[in-house]
Amino acid sequence: MLKLPIYLDNNATTQMDPRVLEAMLPYFTEHYGNAASRNHPFGWEAEEAVDYAREQVAKLIGADPKEIIFTSGATESDNLAIKGVFEMYASKGNHIITVSTEHKAVIDTCKHIEKLGGEVTTLEVNAEGLIDLKELEAAIKPTTILVAIMYANNEIGVIQPMREISAIARKHGVLVFTDGTQAVGKIPVDVNKDGIDLMAFTAHKMYGPKGVGALYVRRKNPRVKVTAQMDGGGHERGMRSGTLNVPGIVGFGKACEICMLEMEEEAIRLSKLRDKLENALLQLEEAYVNGSRDHRLPHVSNISFKYVEGEGLLMGFNKNIALSSGSACTSASLEPSYVLKALGLGDDLAHSSLRFGLGRFTNEEQIDYTIKAISETVLKLREMSPLWEMYKEGIDLNTIEWAHH
Protein backbone atom coordinates (compact mmCIF):
# COMPACT_ATOMS: atom_id res chain seq x y z
CA MET A 1 0.00 0.00 0.00
CA LEU A 2 1.19 3.45 -0.86
CA LYS A 3 2.04 5.40 2.27
CA LEU A 4 1.69 9.16 2.16
CA PRO A 5 3.40 11.60 2.32
CA ILE A 6 6.12 10.65 -0.14
CA TYR A 7 9.59 12.02 0.49
CA LEU A 8 11.40 13.26 -2.63
CA ASP A 9 13.59 15.89 -1.04
CA ASN A 10 16.65 13.74 -0.43
CA ASN A 11 19.04 16.52 -1.41
CA ALA A 12 17.86 18.42 1.65
CA THR A 13 18.28 15.49 3.99
CA THR A 14 17.68 11.75 4.05
CA GLN A 15 15.81 9.36 6.25
CA MET A 16 18.24 7.66 8.59
CA ASP A 17 18.74 4.01 7.72
CA PRO A 18 17.44 1.81 10.57
CA ARG A 19 20.74 -0.09 10.46
CA VAL A 20 22.52 3.16 11.26
CA LEU A 21 20.25 3.86 14.20
CA GLU A 22 20.84 0.38 15.53
CA ALA A 23 24.60 0.88 15.42
CA MET A 24 24.32 4.21 17.24
CA LEU A 25 22.00 3.29 20.09
CA PRO A 26 24.49 1.65 22.48
CA TYR A 27 26.64 4.76 22.34
CA PHE A 28 24.03 6.90 24.05
CA THR A 29 23.31 4.93 27.19
CA GLU A 30 25.91 2.16 27.49
CA HIS A 31 29.15 3.27 25.89
CA TYR A 32 28.78 6.96 26.64
CA GLY A 33 32.41 7.70 27.35
CA ASN A 34 34.39 10.64 26.07
CA ALA A 35 36.71 9.47 23.33
CA ALA A 36 39.39 11.69 24.81
CA SER A 37 39.27 10.01 28.24
CA ARG A 38 42.43 7.95 28.20
CA ASN A 39 42.30 6.47 31.69
CA HIS A 40 39.24 4.22 31.84
CA PRO A 41 37.26 1.70 29.81
CA PHE A 42 34.48 4.16 28.98
CA GLY A 43 36.95 6.35 27.17
CA TRP A 44 38.67 3.41 25.51
CA GLU A 45 35.41 2.04 24.17
CA ALA A 46 34.46 5.41 22.78
CA GLU A 47 37.86 5.90 21.20
CA GLU A 48 37.76 2.45 19.67
CA ALA A 49 34.33 3.14 18.19
CA VAL A 50 35.50 6.44 16.73
CA ASP A 51 38.60 4.78 15.26
CA TYR A 52 36.46 2.13 13.63
CA ALA A 53 34.07 4.73 12.21
CA ARG A 54 37.00 6.75 10.94
CA GLU A 55 38.12 3.71 8.97
CA GLN A 56 34.63 3.19 7.55
CA VAL A 57 34.40 6.83 6.49
CA ALA A 58 37.92 6.90 5.03
CA LYS A 59 37.33 3.71 3.06
CA LEU A 60 34.31 5.14 1.26
CA ILE A 61 36.43 7.94 -0.25
CA GLY A 62 39.69 6.01 -0.67
CA ALA A 63 41.43 7.96 2.09
CA ASP A 64 43.62 7.06 5.04
CA PRO A 65 41.74 7.19 8.38
CA LYS A 66 44.24 9.75 9.66
CA GLU A 67 43.02 12.12 6.96
CA ILE A 68 39.48 12.32 8.34
CA ILE A 69 38.62 15.24 10.63
CA PHE A 70 35.20 14.88 12.22
CA THR A 71 33.09 18.04 12.36
CA SER A 72 29.47 19.01 12.98
CA GLY A 73 28.57 18.84 9.30
CA ALA A 74 29.38 20.05 5.81
CA THR A 75 28.90 23.75 6.57
CA GLU A 76 31.51 23.59 9.30
CA SER A 77 33.80 21.56 7.04
CA ASP A 78 33.42 24.13 4.24
CA ASN A 79 34.31 26.90 6.66
CA LEU A 80 37.24 25.02 8.14
CA ALA A 81 38.68 24.13 4.74
CA ILE A 82 38.46 27.57 3.17
CA LYS A 83 39.25 29.74 6.18
CA GLY A 84 41.79 27.22 7.42
CA VAL A 85 43.70 27.15 4.13
CA PHE A 86 43.48 30.93 3.79
CA GLU A 87 45.14 31.36 7.18
CA MET A 88 47.62 28.51 6.89
CA TYR A 89 48.86 29.47 3.44
CA ALA A 90 48.85 33.24 3.89
CA SER A 91 52.55 33.44 3.14
CA LYS A 92 51.99 31.76 -0.23
CA GLY A 93 49.11 33.86 -1.43
CA ASN A 94 45.57 35.06 -0.82
CA HIS A 95 43.66 34.16 -3.98
CA ILE A 96 40.84 31.60 -4.06
CA ILE A 97 38.91 30.42 -7.12
CA THR A 98 35.33 29.24 -6.75
CA VAL A 99 32.14 28.88 -8.81
CA SER A 100 28.84 30.77 -8.90
CA THR A 101 26.74 27.65 -8.26
CA GLU A 102 28.41 26.64 -5.00
CA HIS A 103 26.42 26.13 -1.83
CA LYS A 104 25.99 29.21 0.36
CA ALA A 105 28.36 27.69 2.90
CA VAL A 106 31.14 28.11 0.33
CA ILE A 107 29.95 31.35 -1.30
CA ASP A 108 29.47 33.16 1.98
CA THR A 109 32.72 31.83 3.41
CA CYS A 110 34.49 33.22 0.34
CA LYS A 111 32.78 36.56 0.90
CA HIS A 112 34.14 36.48 4.43
CA ILE A 113 37.62 35.79 3.03
CA GLU A 114 37.29 38.89 0.85
CA LYS A 115 36.54 40.97 3.95
CA LEU A 116 39.70 39.57 5.49
CA GLY A 117 41.70 40.91 2.57
CA GLY A 118 41.61 37.81 0.37
CA GLU A 119 40.88 37.84 -3.33
CA VAL A 120 38.17 35.60 -4.76
CA THR A 121 37.49 34.77 -8.40
CA THR A 122 34.07 33.30 -9.08
CA LEU A 123 33.83 31.26 -12.27
CA GLU A 124 30.56 31.17 -14.18
CA VAL A 125 29.00 27.97 -15.49
CA ASN A 126 27.54 27.21 -18.91
CA ALA A 127 23.89 26.40 -19.61
CA GLU A 128 24.56 22.82 -18.52
CA GLY A 129 25.90 23.96 -15.16
CA LEU A 130 29.49 22.98 -15.93
CA ILE A 131 32.58 25.12 -15.56
CA ASP A 132 34.95 25.88 -18.42
CA LEU A 133 38.33 24.29 -17.67
CA LYS A 134 40.17 26.87 -19.77
CA GLU A 135 38.63 29.64 -17.72
CA LEU A 136 39.74 27.86 -14.58
CA GLU A 137 43.32 27.63 -15.78
CA ALA A 138 43.29 31.23 -16.93
CA ALA A 139 42.09 32.36 -13.52
CA ILE A 140 45.06 30.82 -11.69
CA LYS A 141 47.75 33.30 -10.70
CA PRO A 142 50.94 33.13 -8.65
CA THR A 143 48.96 34.11 -5.54
CA THR A 144 46.30 31.41 -5.97
CA ILE A 145 46.23 29.05 -3.01
CA LEU A 146 42.94 27.19 -3.41
CA VAL A 147 40.38 26.05 -5.93
CA ALA A 148 37.00 25.46 -4.24
CA ILE A 149 34.60 23.65 -6.56
CA MET A 150 31.75 21.41 -5.49
CA TYR A 151 31.68 17.82 -6.64
CA ALA A 152 27.96 17.73 -7.46
CA ASN A 153 25.39 20.47 -7.18
CA ASN A 154 22.60 20.32 -4.61
CA GLU A 155 19.90 21.84 -6.84
CA ILE A 156 20.55 20.33 -10.25
CA GLY A 157 22.81 17.38 -9.40
CA VAL A 158 25.36 18.36 -12.03
CA ILE A 159 28.78 16.77 -11.48
CA GLN A 160 31.85 18.91 -12.19
CA PRO A 161 34.86 17.30 -13.92
CA MET A 162 36.87 16.87 -10.71
CA ARG A 163 39.78 14.94 -12.23
CA GLU A 164 40.36 17.54 -14.93
CA ILE A 165 39.97 20.33 -12.38
CA SER A 166 42.50 18.82 -10.01
CA ALA A 167 44.95 18.08 -12.83
CA ILE A 168 44.97 21.76 -13.72
CA ALA A 169 45.29 22.86 -10.10
CA ARG A 170 48.13 20.39 -9.45
CA LYS A 171 50.03 21.63 -12.47
CA HIS A 172 50.06 25.07 -10.89
CA GLY A 173 50.67 23.89 -7.32
CA VAL A 174 47.22 24.96 -6.15
CA LEU A 175 45.24 22.99 -3.57
CA VAL A 176 41.83 21.53 -4.48
CA PHE A 177 38.92 21.69 -2.08
CA THR A 178 35.57 20.18 -3.01
CA ASP A 179 32.23 20.19 -1.27
CA GLY A 180 31.33 16.55 -1.73
CA THR A 181 28.12 16.70 0.30
CA GLN A 182 25.77 15.53 -2.45
CA ALA A 183 28.19 13.17 -4.18
CA VAL A 184 29.78 11.07 -1.44
CA GLY A 185 27.86 7.86 -0.86
CA LYS A 186 25.87 8.35 -4.09
CA ILE A 187 28.57 7.99 -6.73
CA PRO A 188 32.16 6.69 -6.47
CA VAL A 189 34.39 9.43 -5.04
CA ASP A 190 38.07 8.64 -4.59
CA VAL A 191 40.26 11.40 -3.22
CA ASN A 192 43.38 9.97 -4.83
CA LYS A 193 41.99 9.20 -8.26
CA ASP A 194 40.11 12.50 -8.24
CA GLY A 195 43.12 14.48 -7.01
CA ILE A 196 41.28 16.07 -4.09
CA ASP A 197 43.25 17.72 -1.28
CA LEU A 198 40.35 18.67 0.96
CA MET A 199 36.73 17.54 0.90
CA ALA A 200 33.67 18.38 2.99
CA PHE A 201 30.84 15.88 3.40
CA THR A 202 28.15 15.01 5.88
CA ALA A 203 26.31 12.02 7.33
CA HIS A 204 22.71 13.17 6.99
CA LYS A 205 22.78 13.27 3.20
CA MET A 206 23.70 9.57 3.12
CA TYR A 207 21.15 8.08 5.49
CA GLY A 208 23.16 8.91 8.61
CA PRO A 209 22.40 11.26 11.49
CA LYS A 210 22.33 15.05 11.37
CA GLY A 211 24.99 17.03 13.19
CA VAL A 212 28.05 15.07 12.11
CA GLY A 213 30.25 15.50 9.09
CA ALA A 214 33.86 15.35 8.07
CA LEU A 215 36.63 17.22 6.38
CA TYR A 216 39.10 15.13 4.46
CA VAL A 217 42.56 16.68 4.70
CA ARG A 218 45.32 15.12 2.58
CA ARG A 219 48.39 13.99 4.50
CA LYS A 220 50.84 13.33 1.70
CA ASN A 221 51.57 14.48 -1.85
CA PRO A 222 51.13 17.16 -0.73
CA ARG A 223 50.76 17.30 3.04
CA VAL A 224 47.94 19.75 3.64
CA LYS A 225 47.28 21.67 6.82
CA VAL A 226 44.47 23.94 7.88
CA THR A 227 44.45 26.42 10.73
CA ALA A 228 41.88 25.44 13.34
CA GLN A 229 38.84 27.71 13.45
CA MET A 230 37.85 26.68 16.97
CA ASP A 231 40.23 26.76 19.88
CA GLY A 232 40.11 24.19 22.63
CA GLY A 233 41.34 20.75 23.53
CA GLY A 234 43.19 20.13 20.29
CA HIS A 235 41.06 17.21 19.14
CA GLU A 236 41.26 15.86 15.61
CA ARG A 237 44.98 16.43 15.22
CA GLY A 238 44.60 19.98 16.41
CA MET A 239 42.37 20.96 13.51
CA ARG A 240 39.00 20.76 15.22
CA SER A 241 38.63 21.05 18.96
CA GLY A 242 35.51 19.86 20.72
CA THR A 243 34.40 16.61 22.33
CA LEU A 244 33.67 14.08 19.63
CA ASN A 245 30.03 13.27 18.92
CA VAL A 246 30.60 9.56 19.44
CA PRO A 247 27.10 8.21 18.62
CA GLY A 248 26.92 10.50 15.59
CA ILE A 249 30.34 9.42 14.39
CA VAL A 250 29.44 5.75 14.86
CA GLY A 251 26.31 6.36 12.77
CA PHE A 252 28.30 8.23 10.14
CA GLY A 253 30.70 5.29 9.90
CA LYS A 254 27.88 2.80 9.54
CA ALA A 255 26.17 4.98 6.92
CA CYS A 256 29.42 5.08 4.92
CA GLU A 257 29.84 1.33 5.18
CA ILE A 258 26.32 0.73 3.85
CA CYS A 259 26.85 3.19 0.99
CA MET A 260 30.11 1.46 0.13
CA LEU A 261 28.30 -1.87 -0.17
CA GLU A 262 25.06 -0.73 -1.78
CA MET A 263 25.87 2.44 -3.72
CA GLU A 264 26.44 0.82 -7.08
CA GLU A 265 23.18 -1.11 -7.12
CA GLU A 266 21.27 1.78 -5.60
CA ALA A 267 22.50 4.21 -8.24
CA ILE A 268 21.29 1.93 -11.03
CA ARG A 269 17.87 1.50 -9.41
CA LEU A 270 17.44 5.19 -8.68
CA SER A 271 18.56 6.39 -12.08
CA LYS A 272 15.91 4.14 -13.64
CA LEU A 273 13.23 5.59 -11.38
CA ARG A 274 14.50 9.12 -11.95
CA ASP A 275 14.44 8.62 -15.71
CA LYS A 276 10.93 7.24 -15.54
CA LEU A 277 9.78 10.27 -13.57
CA GLU A 278 11.60 12.72 -15.78
CA ASN A 279 10.51 11.22 -19.08
CA ALA A 280 6.88 11.12 -17.97
CA LEU A 281 6.92 14.75 -16.81
CA LEU A 282 8.63 15.87 -20.00
CA GLN A 283 5.56 14.63 -21.85
CA LEU A 284 3.92 17.81 -20.60
CA GLU A 285 4.27 20.72 -22.97
CA GLU A 286 6.92 23.33 -22.18
CA ALA A 287 8.71 21.30 -19.53
CA TYR A 288 12.50 21.46 -19.43
CA VAL A 289 15.26 19.73 -17.50
CA ASN A 290 17.68 22.16 -15.88
CA GLY A 291 21.38 21.35 -16.09
CA SER A 292 23.35 18.65 -17.83
CA ARG A 293 21.58 15.33 -18.16
CA ASP A 294 24.82 13.51 -18.96
CA HIS A 295 26.94 14.74 -16.06
CA ARG A 296 24.49 14.35 -13.26
CA LEU A 297 23.85 12.46 -10.03
CA PRO A 298 21.68 9.39 -10.66
CA HIS A 299 18.93 10.34 -8.23
CA VAL A 300 18.40 14.02 -9.00
CA SER A 301 16.24 15.89 -11.48
CA ASN A 302 15.37 19.56 -11.73
CA ILE A 303 12.53 20.47 -14.08
CA SER A 304 10.93 23.78 -15.03
CA PHE A 305 7.25 23.78 -15.96
CA LYS A 306 6.90 26.99 -17.92
CA TYR A 307 4.01 29.35 -17.13
CA VAL A 308 3.39 27.75 -13.73
CA GLU A 309 4.88 29.16 -10.55
CA GLY A 310 6.83 26.64 -8.44
CA GLU A 311 5.39 27.38 -5.04
CA GLY A 312 1.86 27.41 -6.38
CA LEU A 313 2.65 24.11 -8.04
CA LEU A 314 3.96 22.59 -4.82
CA MET A 315 0.80 23.58 -3.05
CA GLY A 316 -1.16 21.26 -5.31
CA PHE A 317 0.40 18.20 -3.71
CA ASN A 318 2.73 19.14 -0.89
CA LYS A 319 0.55 17.47 1.68
CA ASN A 320 1.36 14.21 -0.07
CA ILE A 321 4.70 14.77 -1.80
CA ALA A 322 7.69 16.51 -0.22
CA LEU A 323 9.64 18.44 -2.84
CA SER A 324 11.40 21.75 -3.11
CA SER A 325 11.17 24.53 -5.66
CA GLY A 326 13.65 26.97 -7.13
CA SER A 327 11.09 29.68 -6.58
CA ALA A 328 11.70 31.60 -3.41
CA CYS A 329 8.30 33.15 -3.03
CA THR A 330 8.43 32.35 0.68
CA SER A 331 11.53 34.40 1.27
CA ALA A 332 11.31 38.13 1.69
CA SER A 333 13.65 38.68 -1.23
CA LEU A 334 11.43 36.94 -3.80
CA GLU A 335 14.66 36.05 -5.58
CA PRO A 336 14.53 32.72 -7.37
CA SER A 337 17.34 30.17 -7.24
CA TYR A 338 20.76 31.70 -7.98
CA VAL A 339 21.91 28.31 -9.24
CA LEU A 340 19.25 28.21 -11.94
CA LYS A 341 19.93 31.83 -12.82
CA ALA A 342 23.63 30.97 -13.18
CA LEU A 343 22.65 28.49 -15.91
CA GLY A 344 21.19 31.43 -17.78
CA LEU A 345 17.56 30.65 -16.98
CA GLY A 346 15.28 33.65 -16.92
CA ASP A 347 13.67 34.43 -13.59
CA ASP A 348 10.38 33.15 -14.96
CA LEU A 349 11.78 29.67 -15.62
CA ALA A 350 13.66 29.67 -12.33
CA HIS A 351 10.38 30.45 -10.57
CA SER A 352 8.79 27.51 -12.36
CA SER A 353 11.15 24.79 -11.22
CA LEU A 354 10.86 21.74 -9.02
CA ARG A 355 13.76 19.76 -7.59
CA PHE A 356 13.41 16.01 -7.22
CA GLY A 357 15.79 14.11 -4.98
CA LEU A 358 15.14 10.39 -4.94
CA GLY A 359 16.64 8.18 -2.27
CA ARG A 360 17.20 4.74 -0.82
CA PHE A 361 13.60 4.47 0.33
CA THR A 362 11.96 5.69 -2.89
CA ASN A 363 9.97 3.07 -4.76
CA GLU A 364 8.22 2.81 -8.10
CA GLU A 365 4.73 3.16 -6.67
CA GLN A 366 5.71 6.53 -5.22
CA ILE A 367 7.12 7.65 -8.54
CA ASP A 368 3.91 6.66 -10.35
CA TYR A 369 1.83 8.59 -7.85
CA THR A 370 4.13 11.61 -8.20
CA ILE A 371 3.94 11.62 -11.99
CA LYS A 372 0.17 11.65 -11.85
CA ALA A 373 -0.15 14.28 -9.12
CA ILE A 374 2.30 16.68 -10.71
CA SER A 375 0.96 16.30 -14.22
CA GLU A 376 -2.58 17.00 -13.03
CA THR A 377 -1.53 20.03 -11.01
CA VAL A 378 0.50 21.51 -13.86
CA LEU A 379 -2.47 21.18 -16.21
CA LYS A 380 -4.86 22.66 -13.66
CA LEU A 381 -2.63 25.63 -12.90
CA ARG A 382 -2.01 26.32 -16.56
CA GLU A 383 -5.75 26.63 -17.05
CA MET A 384 -5.51 29.30 -14.37
CA SER A 385 -2.36 30.97 -15.72
CA PRO A 386 -2.65 34.18 -17.75
CA LEU A 387 0.84 33.49 -19.12
CA TRP A 388 -0.20 30.10 -20.45
CA GLU A 389 -3.19 31.71 -22.16
CA MET A 390 -0.96 34.32 -23.79
CA TYR A 391 1.53 31.66 -24.85
CA LYS A 392 -1.29 29.65 -26.43
CA GLU A 393 -2.50 32.76 -28.25
CA GLY A 394 0.98 33.18 -29.67
CA ILE A 395 1.81 36.32 -27.70
CA ASP A 396 5.52 36.78 -27.04
CA LEU A 397 5.71 37.47 -23.31
CA ASN A 398 8.90 39.44 -23.82
CA THR A 399 7.01 42.08 -25.78
CA ILE A 400 4.76 42.88 -22.83
CA GLU A 401 5.67 45.77 -20.61
CA TRP A 402 5.40 44.20 -17.19
CA ALA A 403 4.88 46.32 -14.15
CA HIS A 404 8.12 45.44 -12.37
CA HIS A 405 8.02 45.77 -8.69
Binding site: L334, P336, M384, E389, H405
Partner: protein
Protein backbone atom coordinates in the same frame (compact mmCIF):
# COMPACT_ATOMS: atom_id res chain seq x y z
CA UNK B 1 4.94 27.46 6.03
CA UNK B 2 1.41 26.27 6.46
CA UNK B 3 -1.36 27.96 4.52
CA UNK B 4 -4.63 29.00 6.12
CA UNK B 5 -7.68 26.90 5.39
CA UNK B 6 -9.21 29.72 3.39
CA UNK B 7 -6.17 29.98 1.15
CA UNK B 8 -6.22 26.24 0.61
CA UNK B 9 -9.91 26.32 -0.20
CA UNK B 10 -9.54 29.10 -2.80
CA UNK B 11 -6.54 27.30 -4.25
CA UNK B 12 -8.37 23.99 -4.54
CA UNK B 13 -11.68 25.48 -5.65
CA UNK B 14 -10.84 28.81 -7.22
CA UNK B 15 -13.83 31.02 -7.93
CA UNK B 16 -14.28 32.75 -11.27
CA UNK B 17 -11.29 31.48 -13.20
CA UNK B 18 -11.63 32.54 -16.79
CA UNK B 19 -11.50 35.17 -19.45
CA UNK B 20 -13.91 37.95 -20.44
CA UNK B 21 -13.85 39.62 -23.83
CA UNK B 22 -11.20 42.26 -23.29
CA UNK B 23 -12.32 44.05 -26.45
CA UNK B 24 -15.81 44.69 -25.07
CA UNK B 25 -16.51 48.27 -24.01
CA UNK B 26 -18.03 47.28 -20.68
CA UNK B 27 -15.12 45.01 -19.72
CA UNK B 28 -12.12 46.33 -17.82
CA UNK B 29 -8.90 44.32 -17.70
CA UNK B 30 -6.04 44.70 -15.24
CA UNK B 31 -2.79 42.84 -15.77
CA UNK B 32 -0.28 43.32 -12.95
CA UNK B 33 2.94 41.74 -11.72
CA UNK B 34 5.71 40.24 -13.81
CA UNK B 35 6.81 36.70 -14.63
CA UNK B 36 10.30 37.43 -13.28
CA UNK B 37 8.83 38.30 -9.92
CA UNK B 38 6.98 35.02 -9.74
CA UNK B 39 3.48 36.43 -9.90
CA UNK B 40 1.21 37.81 -12.61
CA UNK B 41 -2.48 38.50 -12.08
CA UNK B 42 -5.07 39.27 -14.68
CA UNK B 43 -8.36 40.46 -13.31
CA UNK B 44 -11.36 41.44 -15.39
CA UNK B 45 -14.65 43.10 -14.57
CA UNK B 46 -17.80 43.25 -16.64
CA UNK B 47 -19.94 46.26 -15.82
CA UNK B 48 -23.70 46.56 -16.31
CA UNK B 49 -23.79 49.82 -18.23
CA UNK B 50 -27.24 50.82 -17.08
CA UNK B 51 -26.57 50.41 -13.34
CA UNK B 52 -22.79 50.75 -13.07
CA UNK B 53 -22.71 47.50 -11.13
CA UNK B 54 -20.04 44.84 -11.72
CA UNK B 55 -22.03 41.88 -12.92
CA UNK B 56 -19.16 39.51 -13.55
CA UNK B 57 -15.51 39.21 -12.64
CA UNK B 58 -12.89 36.72 -13.78
CA UNK B 59 -9.23 36.11 -13.04
CA UNK B 60 -6.22 34.17 -14.12
CA UNK B 61 -3.12 34.12 -11.94
CA UNK B 62 0.42 32.83 -12.27
CA UNK B 63 1.77 32.65 -8.75
CA UNK B 64 1.83 30.99 -5.39
CA UNK B 65 -1.25 29.73 -3.55
CA UNK B 66 -1.72 33.03 -1.75
CA UNK B 67 -1.67 34.96 -5.01
CA UNK B 68 -4.26 32.61 -6.49
CA UNK B 69 -6.42 32.86 -3.36
CA UNK B 70 -6.14 36.67 -3.24
CA UNK B 71 -7.34 37.05 -6.81
CA UNK B 72 -10.06 34.44 -6.41
CA UNK B 73 -11.36 36.26 -3.34
CA UNK B 74 -11.13 39.63 -5.11
CA UNK B 75 -13.38 38.43 -7.92
CA UNK B 76 -15.91 37.19 -5.35
CA UNK B 77 -15.95 40.56 -3.65
CA UNK B 78 -16.19 42.51 -6.89
CA UNK B 79 -19.34 40.90 -8.14
CA UNK B 80 -22.42 42.92 -7.25
CA UNK B 81 -20.45 46.00 -6.22
CA UNK B 82 -20.61 49.28 -8.08
CA UNK B 83 -17.37 50.43 -9.65
CA UNK B 84 -17.00 53.12 -7.00
CA UNK B 85 -17.53 50.64 -4.19
CA UNK B 86 -15.00 48.31 -5.77
CA UNK B 87 -12.37 51.01 -5.50
CA UNK B 88 -12.66 50.81 -1.74
CA UNK B 89 -11.44 47.22 -1.53
CA UNK B 90 -8.27 47.42 0.50
CA UNK B 91 -5.48 44.88 0.39
CA UNK B 92 -5.53 44.61 4.18
CA UNK B 93 -9.10 43.31 3.97
CA UNK B 94 -7.79 40.49 1.82
CA UNK B 95 -4.93 39.85 4.25
CA UNK B 96 -7.40 39.62 7.09
CA UNK B 97 -9.91 37.42 5.30
CA UNK B 98 -7.26 34.95 4.13
CA UNK B 99 -4.98 35.15 7.19
CA UNK B 100 -2.00 35.89 4.99
CA UNK B 101 1.37 35.88 6.76
CA UNK B 102 3.63 38.96 6.38
CA UNK B 103 5.68 37.42 3.54
CA UNK B 104 2.49 37.05 1.53
CA UNK B 105 1.10 40.55 1.95
CA UNK B 106 2.45 41.44 -1.49
CA UNK B 107 -0.08 38.98 -2.97
CA UNK B 108 -2.93 41.05 -1.57
CA UNK B 109 -1.31 44.26 -2.80
CA UNK B 110 -1.13 42.77 -6.23
CA UNK B 111 -4.84 41.89 -6.09
CA UNK B 112 -5.70 45.46 -5.08
CA UNK B 113 -3.52 46.78 -7.89
CA UNK B 114 -5.28 44.45 -10.32
CA UNK B 115 -8.69 45.74 -9.24
CA UNK B 116 -7.60 49.34 -9.74
CA UNK B 117 -6.00 48.57 -13.08
CA UNK B 118 -9.19 46.85 -14.29
CA UNK B 119 -11.33 49.78 -13.17
CA UNK B 120 -9.06 52.29 -14.89
CA UNK B 121 -9.12 50.27 -18.07
CA UNK B 122 -12.93 50.32 -17.93
CA UNK B 123 -12.96 54.08 -17.22
CA UNK B 124 -10.62 54.95 -20.06
CA UNK B 125 -12.61 52.80 -22.47
CA UNK B 126 -15.72 54.70 -21.49
CA UNK B 127 -14.30 58.18 -21.88
CA UNK B 128 -13.47 58.78 -18.22
CA UNK B 129 -10.12 59.78 -16.88
CA UNK B 130 -7.90 57.15 -15.29
CA UNK B 131 -7.69 57.60 -11.54
CA UNK B 132 -4.18 58.25 -10.28
CA UNK B 133 -3.36 55.96 -7.38
CA UNK B 134 -0.45 56.33 -5.07
CA UNK B 135 2.18 53.71 -5.71
CA UNK B 136 1.66 50.63 -3.64
CA UNK B 137 3.88 50.45 -0.63
CA UNK B 138 4.96 46.88 -1.04
CA UNK B 139 6.91 45.57 -4.08
Amino acid sequence: MAYSEKVIDHYQNPKNVGTLDKGAKNVGTGLVGAPECGDVMRLQIEVDESTGVIKDAKFKTFGCGSAIASSSLATEWLKGKSVDEALKIDNMDIVEELNLPPVKIHCSVLAEDAIKAAINDYRVKNGMEAIKFEDSVVH
